[in-house]
């Protein structure tokens, strides 16, 4: 639209002016630096160095949560780094979808690759769900209750994407 003639509204028919309305396009590229925090740093170090998924066990109710965090979301007890424990890298799909449309990824400013499978995964022994990528992107081959295991990147950098995705465990059936 840039380049359209700029007019004045007074004394002119609105319809006529509508043809001259401008849209100003801006492209932004802004760097951000997010703090992973105490518990996040533990999670990403263990993931990067040892392919371990860390959770946190509430020292009051005993429930286990991923990712580790400062407060138990159920009983609101303050937790410490001593409460961090390794959890299973296998689990069950509790909810899923296959994203099949283009949109701008706010992490990159570019269109995110699609289609991709994603699901809420209940890691064995963990109380809440981990939201992550599924290897499978054909929705007819995914179902809730399906058993999956984490597949780690060979070169890990300390990001959630160090878990490349969760792949189907063949022959384990439903849980």
């Amino acid at each position: 639209m840039v380049g359209a003639k700029v007019g004045v509204t007074s004394g002119r028919a609105k319809q006529e002016f509508n043809d001259e309305l401008l849209r100003i396009t801006m492209m932004v590229d802004i760097p951000y630096n997010f703090s992973a925090g105490t518990f996040g740093s533990i999670f990403f170090r263990e993931l990067k160095d040892s392919r371990r998924i860390m959770g946190i066990k509430c020292n009051k109710c005993g429930e286990i949560f991923v990712p580790p965090r400062v407060l138990c979301p159920e009983c609101l007890v303050e937790l410490s780094i001593d409460d961090c424990i390794e959890v299973s890298s296998e689990g069950t799909v509790e909810g899923f979808t296959v994203v099949n449309f283009p949109f701008i990824d706010p992490n990159t400013g570019k269109v995110r690759n699609y289609p991709y499978g994603t699901g809420n995964i209940k890691l064995d022994g963990v109380s809440n769900l981990l939201w992550h990528f599924l290897k499978e992107s054909d929705y007819s081959k995914i179902h809730n209750g399906m058993r999956v295991r984490a597949v780690f990147e060979d070169k890990r950098v300390g990001l959630p994407s160090d878990i490349r995705y969760f792949e189907t465990i063949e022959g384990e059936g439903e849980k």
């Binding site: 609105k14 509508n18 309305l21 849209r23 932004v28 951000y32 997010f34 992973a36 996040g40 949560f65 991923v66 990712p67 965090r69 979301p73 159920e74 509790e94 909810g95 899923f96 979808t97 296959v98 994203v99 099949n100 449309f101 949109f103 701008i104 990824d105 706010p106 992490n107 995110r112 994603t118 699901g119 809420n120 209940k122 109380s127 809440n128 769900l129 981990l130 939201w131 992550h132 990528f133 929705y139 179902h143 809730n144 209750g145 990001l159 959630p160 994407s161």
Partner: protein
């Protein structure tokens, strides 16, 4: 505490692109309409609350530079940004401010100019930037995951969801403000593009440009302004935990925040049987699938009965408890205004001003808002 009522309502035309106005002019369009409805001028307004998900347009300080539109110059102005609930939270906040006794007349404004950016990308930036942003696909992705859970628990079909979308769009045909006016069938929904299994294009709400404003007034002031007041009977809000993955925790099939917020709102309002006592509901349903889960959370049916209520027409315009005569969020979704539209439409029903979408003899109406990782606002209005 005296009563608080809604005495003025203004909505803009909602469209996919309001290129004829900038955001200041868009806000002003709703403000002028609300003041005209209340037969007030901006001089009569004591305080202003403005709601907008400003980072959706990659902007900041919108309460500052929209001030020519809001009329906030040299008045107390507060901005609210609570995701999908922004519009319902400004209504709650308007009620809180008038209830406090500080102000007699508070103008609340919700607005969004979604066409100015990529809405799904913008919504994805709402999730925790480190933990969940890389998987989050705006509102569509997480709502589709919840839909898959609901399907599994209740054996719900894609046709059940499609029926909800058809009803919403049918109702929207009676609403001149609605963004989408689609005369569609169940097959049209089932044959529409698969956005994110099981969510199809026509199951999902659109992205809209528009604004909605309301004037909240204290008892005496309200009665001086008009004899047609929508009185606030009760409000309740519940927020959820931070991570979307936590949302599955002990949620079962309901939206826990809505289940608990409606329970509190009913108790405060003295409502024992909401299905019998409520005359109309304006529920924030971002998709057909969400409508099923959310209806199950309102204490008006047993878990898993929502599809049957839609199929039997119980929630249709001619049913026992009409849901979203306006066409709901499925037909119109200017995010910062969406929750405000629910309250405004419920208030129009109370005031008998809903024209072709009017439900007869409305004494008690409920509006809800939904946002974030799964939180809810509820406002109950009475004649």
């Amino acid at each position: 505490m005296g009563r608080v009522g809604i005495v003025g309502i203004g909505q803009t035309q909602f469209r996919s692109k309001r290129e004829d106005v900038n955001s200041v002019e868009l806000v002003n369009e709703a403000v002028r309409a609300a003041l005209a409805d209340a037969q007030l001028t901006i001089k009569d307004i004591d305080a202003i609350i403005i709601g907008n998900m400003e980072h959706f347009e990659s902007i900041n300080y919108s309460e500052m530079w929209t001030i020519d539109g809001s009329g906030g110059y040299m008045k107390p102005v507060m901005k609210i940004t609570t995701g999908g609930t922004t519009g319902s939270t400004i209504a709650c906040a308007g009620f809180y401010q008038v209830s406090s006794g500080m102000f007699d007349r508070v103008l609340v404004i919700g607005w969004e100019h979604l066409s100015e950016s990529d809405t799904t990308g913008a919504i994805a930036s709402c999730s925790d930037p480190i933990w969940e942003r890389s998987v989050m696909a705006g509102a569509v992705g997480p709502l589709a995951i919840v839909a898959s859970e609901y399907m599994r628990i209740h054996g719900t079909t894609e046709e059940d969801a499609a029926r909800v979308a058809v009803q919403a769009h049918k109702n929207a045909l009676n609403n001149p403000y609605a963004h989408l006016h689609l005369d569609i069938t169940v097959d049209d929904v089932l044959n529409s593009a698969m956005l994110s299994y099981p969510m199809k294009l026509l199951d999902m709400c659109p992205t809209s440009d528009g604004a909605c404003a309301m004037v909240f007034a204290e008892d005496k002031s309200a009665r001086e302004i008009t004899d047609n007041v929508a009185w606030v009977k009760s409000v309740a809000t519940r927020h959820d935990t931070a991570f979307f993955g936590d949302g599955g925790l002990k949620h079962g099939d309901k939206l826990r925040s809505l289940y608990l917020a409606t329970e509190e709102a009913y108790t405060r309002a003295g409502i024992k049987n909401p299905f019998k006592e409520l005359d109309v509901i304006e529920m924030y349903e971002p998709s057909s699938w969400s409508a099923l889960t959310w209806v199950d959370s309102l204490h008006i049916c047993e878990p898993g009965e929502a599809p049957k209520l839609f199929e039997e027409g119980v929630l249709s315009m001619k049913g026992e408890l009409p849901l979203n005569p306006s066409g709901g969020v499925i037909s119109t979704n200017p995010i910062g205004a969406t929750g405000a539209v629910r309250v405004a439409e419920a208030a129009l029903q109370i005031r008998g001003m809903a024209d072709r979408r009017q439900v007869p003899d409305v004494e008690l109406a409920m509006a809800t808002g939904f946002g974030g990782s799964g939180w809810s606002d509820v406002m109950i209005l009475e004649r």
